[in-house]
């Protein structure tokens, strides 16, 4: 003998989804005594799209304070930025916020 299950409507569970955003990563450029200031400005403009004034301010911060945060991005993007800075010969690291 077989029995047939009668479908019983059930309520869909209420799901609370939380979007966990990864904290950003800082892209940091460090001073070195060899690389030209004008070259640093050019690289910052090319890689990050900064205008001349912003790129110059960041370059001067690198020169005077030893380092500057030039961007804050998700990790993968920050790593790409650091790799591109390395390709241009700038000293750069990334650090979690």
């Amino acid at each position: 003998m077989t029995t047939t299950a009668t479908p019983v409507p059930v309520e869909a569970p209420v799901r609370e989804e939380k979007v966990v955003r990864e904290p950003g990563w800082n892209v940091i450029v460090w001073n070195d005594p060899i690389t030209l200031m004008t070259y640093v400005v050019l690289v910052l403009r090319k890689l990050f799209g900064y205008d001349h004034v912003t790129a110059t301010r960041l370059m001067l911060q690198v020169h005077e304070e030893g380092k500057a945060i030039v961007a804050t991005q998700p990790r993968e993007q920050a790593e790409v930025s650091v790799a591109r800075l390395h390709a241009f010969g700038l000293q750069a690291t990334l650090a979690r916020l």
Partner: protein
Amino acid sequence: MLKRRGRIQVRFDAAERDALLDIVGRLETHISRALATTPRAYDDKTMQSEYDRWVRPEIERGYGADLDVIRDALSAGEELLVLTEAQVYAWLRGFNQLRLAAGSLLGISEDGWETAASEQLRAKPEFGMLIALGYLQEELVAALES
């Protein structure tokens, strides 16, 4: 150097081309020495080892390719070189790596070396190369931004 229709024109006579090729040849073998002193991308050892494994080799291949772009242009035997923007960036990156190599060979570790350098340091060939490459880099940056 002159920017015309989006391209940079660079004029070198034969002696200048030979001198620049000589500088490239002399300094390129020391690029790895300069790289050894550059900061790591990550503080975290695991992340850094991944970066060294997957990203670093491509960057270092890029340094070699940039120097090839310079060498190819200088070896063509032309006095007037017409460079695309991409080629100019390759020259700039290549010159920067060579300058870092020269700086490493000279033991330069602090700003102000241009005025503070001793006569002994100034007499070294790498010092002249550092200055010459810096001049060319400044000219290329100015041409790009003109």
